[in-house]
Symmetry: C3
Subunit: 344 residues, 3 copies
Amino acid sequence: MTSIPRDQWYVAAYGAEIGHDLFTRTVCGESILFWRTRDGAVTAVPDRCVHRRFPLSQAPSRLVDDQVVCGYHGFTYDAGGRCVAVPGQSRIPRTARLLPYPVVEQDSFVWVFIGDRAKAEASRIPRAPWLVSPDHTTVAGMEPLRARYSLLVDNLLDLSHETYLHGGYIGTPEVAATPITTAVDEQAGIVHVSRHIDDAECPPFYAKSTGLRGRIARWQDIEYTPPCLYLLHSRIAPVGSVPGPDGADPDAFHVEVVYAITPETEHSTHDFWCVARDFALGDEEVSTFLAESNRTVVLQDVEALNVLEQVIATEPAGCQELSINIDTGGLAARRLLQRLCAAS
Amino acid sequence: MTSIPRDQWYVAAYGAEIGHDLFTRTVCGESILFWRTRDGAVTAVPDRCVHRRFPLSQAPSRLVDDQVVCGYHGFTYDAGGRCVAVPGQSRIPRTARLLPYPVVEQDSFVWVFIGDRAKAEASRIPRAPWLVSPDHTTVAGMEPLRARYSLLVDNLLDLSHETYLHGGYIGTPEVAATPITTAVDEQAGIVHVSRHIDDAECPPFYAKSTGLRGRIARWQDIEYTPPCLYLLHSRIAPVGSVPGPDGADPDAFHVEVVYAITPETEHSTHDFWCVARDFALGDEEVSTFLAESNRTVVLQDVEALNVLEQVIATEPAGCQELSINIDTGGLAARRLLQRLCAAS
Amino acid sequence: MTSIPRDQWYVAAYGAEIGHDLFTRTVCGESILFWRTRDGAVTAVPDRCVHRRFPLSQAPSRLVDDQVVCGYHGFTYDAGGRCVAVPGQSRIPRTARLLPYPVVEQDSFVWVFIGDRAKAEASRIPRAPWLVSPDHTTVAGMEPLRARYSLLVDNLLDLSHETYLHGGYIGTPEVAATPITTAVDEQAGIVHVSRHIDDAECPPFYAKSTGLRGRIARWQDIEYTPPCLYLLHSRIAPVGSVPGPDGADPDAFHVEVVYAITPETEHSTHDFWCVARDFALGDEEVSTFLAESNRTVVLQDVEALNVLEQVIATEPAGCQELSINIDTGGLAARRLLQRLCAAS
């Protein structure tokens, strides 16, 4: 059994990555070819010619109008994956067909369904509306991770690591010191982890972007919908400020940190990250600062998780972990992921 | 079971590669040491000292007259593989012996027999006489391929890929568009694939080398003797020109393209290529052009096949291929290769 | 079963390598973290946080006084391996413990015990007192070897290879030509190999360091205590000179060559080497010459053994070796090592 759940939606790319060009990305071990047809829709088909396996993304394969021509022997497919030409004969075998992947473009992401295509429609895609909302400004990126996706899930579900791994960027002593509360919505399959810090040092990430001086209230509300979408609702406010009974929260700064955690293979991961803010909307300087800072933080995680992957690859069998209170979110996430794996 | 037939002759090198120096090459997974003795014969023995496995091709191992001295402990062998000296004692163990490989130098190639040496003599070595004929001029080379040899067999048996992978060099639309005829000589174990194009664009490879202007008749007659020797009899002539009843063919240009397909390991291959022509025999400019063009074409294949090897290495189990008419030659070759594997 | 004996002492480092900094080295496949506490003792604990496996030697992990703080989530351990702080809670789980390795610092080496810690005390650590004796001057180093440790054992137990692999440095024809005598102390588990050459060319290594001119008597007395410690008592003297009945040997030069052979993994080795001499004690020029020469010789071995490791990794199953008289020491060593493996 694989440790990657099938019959699930995964983020394959940002919509902005896919134009009228051949684009390839491996998702859950499957090489997928993408292009945007002239009507604007994203096509996703296996990146492998049915004839002799040549990758359709590999030059001299090329896109001609809305058809892709294999660079090895010229098998030609339309945007629906149907083969429309083969060399040396006019009859096209009925089975010459690339089975398209279900695709949904939503919230700036291109989602693909991996597994039994018949189950795609009934499967809910979680939302991250801030990424395309006019009330927010978003910076985003993707870093390749040479580690299994579950290490990134562990990492993001337990933010006490900010204090140590990201000290000087987003971590301060109060993060690790403050207990969390964890709740699992078994029905919806969502893990919630909350840490509300009433009085904390303001790390540079937020001090420079918000302009807040002095100590802050810092709330971290995590919402993870396995396997792929991770939301961190981050609230920064002057100490003592709380939202009004109607939800109004004029003194606070809200940042929606979104990760899409997409397995590339059993041992590598696409680490999509986005930072959406509800302040300084048109301020390019703030955008540049947040993009650079968050990428630095992500790369600190990437470096640490790449090391962990090597530790796991070389350690003797039977090595144990030890879990404490900070791990309740991560352990809940593992349990939901195992349930998804068992069901697929 | 391996996918590499044993009890077969394979091209290990060009004769010109082997002089009075230690030379090593791996053939079918076996490391072989070659040198040319002072009487001009090529010696081939395992490239591994019987004592502690040290490669006899590895410095400070060295050739002293017609004997090789191991660089680790000084075991010394004559050209017949007999050990003639060991350190610290005068008695030489009877089993201290490198078992020589059967070697035949022929048609510019050094052939070695891999498998049961007793079967070598009865096993026919296919010929490529043009490579050493005074009526032809030959250019040649060898490119290392990081792919299994069967991918190169597939490639060379189906030349419709010239149109796509080698467009602008040797491919034109008519190649892929023209059907082939395939015949298998079960007795001799040879696959024949023919494509006679009556009226085609002349690709640069032939236009520049022959000086022909305008459209051409282009004949491709393949003769593959598994596992190693592939011949492509290529005939280029003005449209309408045909050979006379006596075989005379004065208006045509003939090129004998020869490949020796030698497995290095299960996943890598020595791709020997030769282009022998019966025109412009002394013309260095034509030789240089054909050598550079053919090497470019071979490297296009190498790049594509290296990619295919990676595709196979990483694809999920159970991936299928789809074959059409152009593949009849390749499928016949696979069948003969399987027969050879099963017999060995 | 592994080919690396457990329940054994191994040299992990020179004492001089370990200061008040985090230092990591893998011994017998186990990643070990070392540091020297403020009282001067060397601490050795597993280099893996009990929480989520993060290497404690990996930045931003750091040493604070005599405690190490994990750079991922801040688990903190004292020099005895006890966890003294975890994030987000004051209760520390009883099992949060790094089990320390038995450590002995002796003869310039840091020895660690690999295996069942209860067996450490009863297990004898072999000595190399010259390395810290005021009557000797020592040069030393360590070279990483990408080969299994048994190849280095083979190498050092059969010095006839000096003639071929180290010709021009420490090898002369007489080494390989002179028979050895081998004796095994089964009780103590020690292999002795002796080669006394009465009349030999003096190789540069000894000619330049001793100033001896002309031919020499050269004695090589090996004492190997598996798995880790190898001693070569090397005696160089004018031809005809012998030690007196009381052991006095005023005309001779004595060099104690010490190797510690420590498996890093199944396929890599730490090759510690030391050269202790009883002459020219304060002569820096001689020290520099011997250090550079011996390192060159060790690197010649490393290059050869790295090649052998690759030979073994790629050779067909069932490849044989052939042993002769020079191999009696190496074969005895293999037998003792197998006995240690079987017992562990």
